[in-house]
Structure formats: C-alpha cells, structure tokens
Symmetry: C2
Subunit: 644 residues, 2 copies
C-alpha cells in the first residue's frame, strides 16, 4: 500500500485568518518561552533544568541530574518545533541557538552512541533495566523526530548523524540476537525510527520499529518480567501493581480490538502501526489500525476529539464511558489521534479520517493553548465548574484556568510542533495527486512525478464556507483531491466556474487538473448543527451539543451566567450565527433560545424538597469550545440540556 | 446543657419486621464471620492477621506483625459488636470467646499501659512519632469504646481496667505538661475517652478529650511539625504533601464553619465536640457543632444521608458538589453522621437531627450490607453503571457489587455495631421524659428519677405509618416525647384514643403520661414524595428522586432494563405503592409512569449525529435504595430525569 506524502514544509505557507492567531505564537511566544523554560530563566515556573542536564552529561557543567526521568524530552520537543519553524521561515539567530543545543547533545552522547541524561548522569548502572518506566526509548524517539525535522529544515546533518548513531545502538541492543523480547514502556521510538528510515533510507530502523511492535504483548509480559530482575528499581510508585493494558502490552498489537490504557501511549503506538503497515504492505496490521480507529471514534471519543475518559492514569476506559466533567482528554492524546488519523488518511486516501483530525485540531488541540500562548490546558473536560475543581480530590486533575509551563511539559511543546507543522495536515501529495484535507489559507508546492503543482488556498473557513483554490500545474497528469467534509455532503465544488456533479470517492472530490492553471471553489455549508450523542453515552442523554463546521461550541459563564447545567436549549427554535470582530480576535458566535431553571423559592437551608421545577426563558450564547477560558474565569459547558 | 441518656441496651429489645432481617445478621452471621476473619479462617478473603498480631505482641506466638498500621481495630470492633450483642441477649459461648480475646489484649499491654501491636511488634522505637498517620490514638479509641460496651453488657471490669491503664498513659504522655500540642491524626480517641469518663467518672479522661480538641488547628500545625522531626517516617505515600484540612487541623475546631477533609475523621471529631460541649456547658463549641451540622445537611449531603463527595481521599469537597456516580459516601461516614446527629438530638432535644439520622440509617448504612450479611459496600454512589466501574481508573473505588470482608475492614464491623446498638438510636431518656426517635418495633425500660417507664412499640413502619406505643409508667412525672418526622408534619397522634392537637416542640410531640398505663398511636403519612434538589446541586437539575417516609428509592436494571439514564419519570402522574411480600423479604415497591429514550435509528458506528430525540412510554419500578444489588448485578439510579 502506498502512503501519500506529507506536504514539504519548506514549500508550504500558512496565512489564515483563523489559524494565524495561533501559528504566530509558535515563533513569537512559545519557542522563546520554551527556551527560557529549558534554561530556567522563568520566574514562578517550576524548574526545568533540562538543558543543564545535557550540559552536565556533556561534561560542560558540574552538578546533579534534576527532574523526571523523561526530562530530556523538553529539549527534544523544543528542537523539533524549531525545526518545523525554520522550514517555514529562515531565522539565523534561532538556527544558531539550535545548533548550540545540538552541539551539547552531541557532546552528551556516550562513546557507544547512547543519549539520555538521567541514565548517564544519575543511574548509569541501570541503563535499559526498566523499559516499563525508564522512558529511554521514548526520549530517543522524540530526539529522532527532532533530528529529522531539523535536517529537513536546514539540511544540516549533525543532529541527524548523532541520532543515527543512537539508533544504531538501539538496533543493536534490541536486535533479535541480543534481546528479542524488549519493547518500550512508552511508545514513541517506533515513530522516530520510521522517520529516520524515511530520511536516511536505512531499512534497519524500520525493521527495528516493526520488531518493537511485533514483540508487544507476546508471551510473558516483558515489563512484568523486568520487575522480577535484580536490577529493577521502581521509579513511579503509582505503577506498583502494573497493569499491562496501561501500555498496550496486554495482547499482540494485531489482536487488539479496543483502545486501552494510557491514551497517549496508545495513539503513538497506532501511528507506528500504521507506518509499519504501509511500509510492509501489511494488511493484517492495517486492519488492526482500522479496528482500533473505529473503536475510538465510534465508542470512546468526545465530540471535541478528546480521548482518555479517566482522570486516573490518563487512560481509555470502556465503550460509551464519556463523562464530561472528570475526564482527562489530554491535549497530547488528541495530537496523537490527529497524527494517527493523518497516517490513516495518507494510506487509505479516505477523507473520513481527516474529519476526525480536523475536529481534534479545531477543538481539543486549540483549547490546549491560551490565545497569548503562555498558558496551557493538559486536561480538556467538556464541563467545568471551577469551584469544585480542587486539589486532593477526584477532580484534582481538572484545571479551570490554563496552567503555566510545567517543570516537564508535554502538551505545550506538542502543541507548538503541531502548529508549526500544520501544513503537513493540510496537504498530501503523491506522483499525480495533491490532496487538500483542511481548509486553511496558504499555499504549497508539490513535486509530482512529471512536474510541480502549486496550490494556493484562500478562505475564511471555518467562519465562512467559501474556499477558493488556485492551481498552477506543470504536471499533465495532475489531479486535485479536495476533501468534502463528512458534516457537509452538500458541499458544492466548481472548477473554472463549472459545477462538478461527480460523487466524491471516499470523501474526496477528485478533480483532473492536468497542466496549466485552474480555479477551484468549494462552498461548504456551515449551518450550525444540533448534535446528539448515541444513547449509549449515558452522560449525554437529554442533552445537545452545538457544532458549526468542525467547530464545537460551548456555553461560558461570562455570557450565560453561572450554573450552566440549569440552562436548556430550545432545539425547536433556529440558531443564529453572528461573526463578532471583537470577540477572540474575530469569531462566529451562535445565539439560541432557551431557558433557565428558576431558583427562586429555594431557601439556602433547603437541600432537598418537594418543590416543582420551573423554567424561565433565557437567550443562550455559544462560543467556540477551543476559545473558552480566554476571557473570564468561570463555568463552561458543551452538552446542554434540551427541551423535549 | 443536659444530654438525654441513651437507652440502656440491657433494658431494650428490637423485634421489627423491617429491621429484624438485618439485626439478626449481627449475631448469626456477621460476628461469627468477623471472628473467622480476624482468625484468618476464611478462604478467598484477604489475610487479616489481626488477632495473631495481638498474640505476637502478647508473647504467645512468634512472628512478624502483618497488616495496616490500624489492623488492631478489627479486633476492637469485633469486641464492641459482641458487647452490644451480649447486652441484648446472654450468650455464654460468645462471652467466653470474647474473654479469651480480652486476655490476649491484656497480655499484649506493655508495662506502662501501652497497647498497639504495630508499634509494639514492628516499630517500638517509633511510638507516638507519627500521629499524622500512625493511628495509635484512633486504635486506642476503638478499644476504649469496645471496653465500655463490654463492661456495660457483662459487668466484667477486666477490659475496662486494661483500657483505663492505657487511657492513663495517654493522659500522661499528652498532658499539657509533657506534650501540649499533640492531637490524633484520625479522630476517635476523644469519643473513647468521653465514654470511659462516663462509665468511670474519671474526669481526667474527659479533660484529655477536650485538650485534644482544643489543640487542633492552633499555631503551627502539629502534623507538619512532626514531618520535620528526625524520627518521622512516612507510612502512607499518598499523604506526601499533606493537607491539614484532610484531618480537620486547618483551623481551631471552634472556628471551623464548613465540613472539610476526610469525612469519617470529620464526623468522629464532631461527635467528640458535641460530647465535650455538653459536658462543659460550652455554648461556643456547641454552636460550632450546629454550624458544621448545618453545612453538611444543607450543602454537602446526599439525599441518602451519604457524605464525602470525593472518591480520592474519601473527603468532603465544596458546597453543592454532589456527583452521583463517582462519590465516596462511605458507609462509615454515614454511621459517623448518625452518631453525630444522635448526640446533637440528645443535647438539643430537637427532632430535626433525628430526621437526618433516620435517613442515614435507612438508606446509606443499610445499603452497606447485603441481606445475607456476607458482603458490604464501603462506597455508596447514587448511580452505578457496572461496566465502567473498572480498576485503575477514576471509578476504581466504585464497586457495583458488595465486597467480601477486607483484610482490614472498617465498614462491616461498623455496620455490625450500629445494628447491635440500634436501641440507642430509638430511645433516649432523662429524669422525667422518654424520647421515641425512630419507629422501630420493640421495647425499652427507662429509669426516670421517680420510677421506671416501660415503652412497647409496635409498627410495620416504614411500610405502614401506623405506630402503637404502650406505656407503663411508675413515674408520676413521666412524659413521652414522640418524634414527628420532618417529612410528615401532619402525623396524627392520639393518647388513649384522644387526638392530640398541641403543636410539637422542636419536632417532638411531648405527651404527659404520669404514672399508669397509656396507649399512644401515631399515624405517619407515608405518601411517596417526589423530591428535587436545590438548583445549586448541578448534578441533579432536571431530575427527581422518589422517597417514601425515610426510605429513598432507586431504579434497578433488573426491573427497568439497562441504560437507566435514558429513562424519565412522569411527575404529573401519580405514584402507586405496593407491598410485595416476595421481594427482599417484604418491601414496599413504587410504580410510576415514565418513558425511555428511543434508541432505534442509531447505528452502532454512530457516536454523534444530527438526530432527533424521541421517547416512548415505560412503566418504572422503584425499590428501596438500601436494598439495591441484592438481586441481580446491574445498573442503579436514584436521581431520574423528569418530564418538564
């Protein structure tokens, strides 16, 4: 099976009314902020020490390792975001800064190729003895991804070569000859190895990724075996009584039918499974991916593209268990879901995957970052009552306001790299087709087999459904495949003014363009939709959610008063949309008729009483879920009760 | 202020159609089962080792301490239940068995009076160094309560004297001279000391209880200070980053206005505050109790009398935070609430306290035990969906079926002692009045100042509201105060056939009886009530609960099909009650009209869609909440959606 290629970020620009407010943050705010974070130059922010750990490992500084066992990943993620950013736009100063960091990493590399400051500085004798918790392979994977991004952006090989040496070591240590049972406790290195293979052509890296996947869940569980070895040392007390399902090592990956365990681990693994399935033409493995994708998206996913229903252990639970106010729904997990869906779309050329990717990006991923780029949600519930989100309770993990950078941060840099690589989600191409997956204004140039194709996309989507695409093709065989969103089957497509009446194929309208110029338009209907959940989702029965295009809406206390669960939406009345320039830097707001439970007649000392319930009319104001919490501190609610 | 006395259990019998099914379990099932548990004679049940620990401490056996730091309390609670049981009915065999245990405890007592097998066998050098977690004083308190119960039942002094020696040691070690800042990490010894004072007249015990209360939350927190001492050793990793609010040591007890922290600790402390307030005529302390009671019962209590909204740390959270499916609502906490309310009623002679006590007993406490007496709920949510109560998730603590005895069990023995001492809830008395608080058939004899009064109560309450009380009084001044339930202000009272038209005083109808016989009747209206929660309880908006008398009802899957949240109750239609002989050994069932969301038209692969919601009629069957889970495994729901 052939995987479509991702857009080359060096040949791609994003300039979009909706996304620019976030994408500019990466270079202007997040990367500099993150730089200060990894250098411990921020006040009131938990110490990172992550660059210092590398300097100590490199012998440049004296001192002790500080931080979590995966502290190195903060540096890796910074470098990856820098790589993506430099691809879009040169910046000599930033590049010099990154080169300096790469020099330190190279110096921190051990003679045999090993890189990990925790196990180099603090526990050298415990290297590779605790894959369950040690995160060495996870950290390696992030460094590999960063090295590939940096190489692609700058053409500089140093970081890539450093990581090749480390990859060579990993391929040796975990070869079938030397340790034919081991695999990582937190999947990620598989993705990194595939990327290294893609840029270097070194098939051994791909093979090692496949080996890690194929060993998982086979025979005696490797992590339970590890625990019994004399050198094993528990790192995280909460992992005592380890459940193999937590790391998706409960079954061989091909036999896994439901999404289980830690959500980020799960989706990172599914990404690698898709990569390997494509590279090996492995139908069985691809079918496992399809089954898992289906389980997530039809049973275990929030309407916002959030995944991971349990606050405890940030994990999947059971089908239809989608509580709105205590779920984890980690930003990183939705990023992983988008990465998985993107791969599935690359392989299958089915736009339905991109429907979910779009929802995850426009809702949960964007909710993860404040509009000033300085604070972040890790946890993304669909209903928040700030007063009861208090520490040392079951809602300890739910934060009603975005949090500053953490000592070791996963979501913020993950958001940064996602925003910086947005072009990879918008466009795919192969030898004769350019796919347009998302309606984000910008441009790309794709090198098809017999010539390049330039695509320019102009739109105000998702506020406005009109999309104009100019194509300049030097390829006689060029086709443009534009995604018809699953929520808008009536999308009208024209080419050079002529209405296309063909049916889309797997959700893409495939337009023969050939050589020359063409003007394509889409008119995507964006009427607000009143959505209900499958009745098996017990938490959402009797409730509705308002969605427009890919954008899920919510009620905020600042617009609708407190006690949002006391409101109901009158779904018999029409919803009214209005583009509001002043709100959130420009946003489409939805107004609705509804009501509020009357609270008069309840004395403060009455908790339960034989009282009738009465409602009074109230207008409701819905704003995009991703934008919540950017104005006032207060309640938020996605699923609102409806009249019957 | 004078506290009414509790009924003398030796002068009291319970023979009640409703309660007998539970009370007989104590002697026939629970005490023997518990005996097997503390002797490790049960298969498939977690090891207890608690009696063995005493034997080791006594030098009778060799071996290591095993179990939790509070393992001793299992033995103490068994002895207390035995004491209450022997008061009602002689049993030489059981008494001999208890005497044997008491001999072991006496031998395990250290020369200075100290008793605690963990700190005697395992960590003798750490005695009293970790009051935050060590549970030494908590364990001492339970032993004191047991010793008092056993002494009252049998008249034997040995156990009482053993505990006096230990109490003397505690009064010395924690005197103002030797350690004027310490207090227990888990309140309970205060209750034990007050009881010891009540039977021995030794005022020093009362004074020590008061000192423990008055020191709490004053100045530098004792537990945080303890943590900094060289001998401090952390026992429970989850107590790292200790919150003083967890143990109600965040403020002086008199300044506490809201119920905070671990619910059982809290209510045990409030019990002791009430005891001390009464003994010292301490209005300020009593007012603190009133404020805390009000906060719980008007802001932080379930309609079932459950308390403690957070699964994590089994604790109170914030006003109106009453989630139905993830709360802890520990059985022990409701027992503690009943003990607190009973004391407040003894002091204030206000029946409103007993309304709450009655609700806690008939709902949460009884829900805690299966009808066969062999399995137990610790956690009492109001909505259970078994499929999603899975380990290693946020709902890890919610068990959809009652659990077998635990290695260290708090709730089962606590239920046993509550059932065995039920008479103490039913009747109070002082020099001229007998209070009848609960309508449970049986009899008591109370020694008033100028003669005894015998009260015989016959009723089929709560199934039937007719109560007949025969009084035989030798006291010329005798009065009978019968509680008019808060839910039934229209209760009709007659004395010797004459209808009483006076108004109740603080919820008690006070009937002058004098010497001689009298026949009193009450007719308590028991129409089912459709209750709503204060609209600030966000979880219950748009929902209703069905209650009859003190009994809260629920829907079970076995009667109503699966997906209970898809049901609604038509509150415009009448509810129909029916006494069903065959159900639960006889129970009043409530039938109602309602509906169910139609699920046709949703494909299995549709999670969210623009579909209309439709309902079809369905009859609903409500059964007492306390009885749920005694038939089939399945869903349960108290707060049901209602039509608007």
């Amino acid at each position: 099976m052939k995987k479509a290629k991702l857009a080359d970020l060096k040949q791609t620009q994003i300039h979009d009314a909706f996304w620019d407010r976030y994408t500019h943050l990466v270079k202007d705010v997040i990367i500099p902020y993150q730089w200060d974070a990894i250098n411990d130059n921020l006040e009131g922010v938990e110490k990172s020490h992550s660059l210092m750990n590398y300097k100590i490992a490199a012998g440049r500084e004296q001192g002790e390792f500080y931080g979590a066992v995966f502290q190195d990943t903060d540096v890796a993620k910074w470098l990856e975001a820098v790589g993506f950013t430099l691809a879009a736009q040169e910046d000599k100063g930033l590049e010099e800064r990154a080169d300096g960091v790469i020099d330190i990493i190279a110096e921190a590399q051990q003679p045999d190729g090993y890189i990990n400051t925790y196990f180099t500085v603090k526990e050298p004798q415990l290297r590779w003895t605790n894959l369950q918790e040690g995160h060495e392979l996870y950290t390696a994977g992030h460094l590999m991804e960063a090295a590939v991004a940096y190489y692609r952006a700058t053409g500089k090989r140093k970081f890539l070569d450093v990581m090749r040496r480390f990859a060579d070591l990993i391929c040796d240590v975990f070869s079938d000859e030397k340790n034919n049972r081991a695999y990582p406790g937190h999947q990620e290195v598989e993705i990194g190895l595939v990327k290294l293979y893609e840029v270097t052509g070194e098939r051994g890296y791909l093979e090692q990724a496949k080996r890690f996947l194929d060993r998982r869940g086979v025979g005696e569980n490797y992590f339970l075996w590890e625990e019994k070895q004399p050198k094993f040392r528990r790192i995280f007390p909460e992992f005592t009584d380890y459940q193999t399902v937590y790391s998706q090592s409960h079954l061989p990956v091909r036999e896994q039918k439901t999404a289980e365990g830690h959500a980020v681990r799960a989706v990172y693994m599914y990404c690698a499974m898709a990569d390997v399935a494509a590279a090996y033409d492995d139908e069985e493995l691809l079918n496992a991916c399809i089954t898992l994708w289906k389980n997530i998206t039809t049973k275990r996913m929030y309407i916002t593209g959030g995944i991971g229903s349990s606050g405890l252990l940030e994990r999947f639970t059971t089908d239809y268990d989608l509580p709105n106010n205590r779920n984890y729904s980690e930003t990183c997990a939705s990023i992983g879901l988008a990465l998985f869906g993107r791969r599935m779309a690359q392989i299958t050329k089915n736009a339905a995957y991109m429907d979910v990717v779009e929802s995850a990006l426009y809702n949960t991923v964007l909710a993860g970052v404040a509009m000033d780029g300085k604070s972040f949600f890790y946890v993304n519930p669909l209903e928040v009552w700030p007063q009861n989100c208090i520490p040392h309770t079951s809602l300890d993990h739910v934060k009603p306001v975005r949090q500053k950078w953490f000592g070791v941060a996963c979501c913020p840099p993950n958001i940064a790299r996602t925003l910086a690589s947005l072009g990879e989600y918008v466009y795919f191409y192969d030898e004769d087709t350019v796919w347009v997956n998302l309606y984000i204004a910008g441009r790309t140039t794709a090198q098809l087999a017999d010539g390049s194709v330039e695509v320019q996309l102009a739109t105000e989507y998702p506020d406005n459904g009109r999309v104009r695409i100019k194509v300049n093709s030097r390829s006689a065989r060029a086709k443009l495949a534009v995604r018809i969103p699953g929520f808008a089957p009536d999308t009208a497509v024209t080419v050079d003014g002529r209405r296309i009446t063909e049916q889309p194929v797997d959700g893409y309208m495939v337009l023969p363009i050939g050589a020359g110029a063409a003007a394509v338009t889409l008119d995507i209907p964006l009427e607000p939709r009143v959505m209900r959940a499958n009745p098996n989702v017990r938490e959402d029965i009797g409730k509705a959610a308002v969605v427009r295009g890919p954008v899920v809406y919510c009620l905020e206390e600042t617009d609708n008063g407190s006690n949002l669960p006391a409101l109901y939406l009158d779904t018999d009345k029409p919803l009214r949309t209005s583009y509001e320039e002043r709100l959130f830097g420009g946003a489409t707001v939805i107004y609705a008729d509804g009501g509020r439970m009357v609270t008069d007649g309840w004395r403060e000392d009455e908790l339960y009483a034989q009282k009738e319930t009465a409602y009074q009319p109230q207008k409701l104001t819905f704003v995009p879920y991703a934008f919540w919490g950017n104005r006032a501190h207060g309640e938020m609610l996605v699923w609102v009760k409806e009249n019957r």
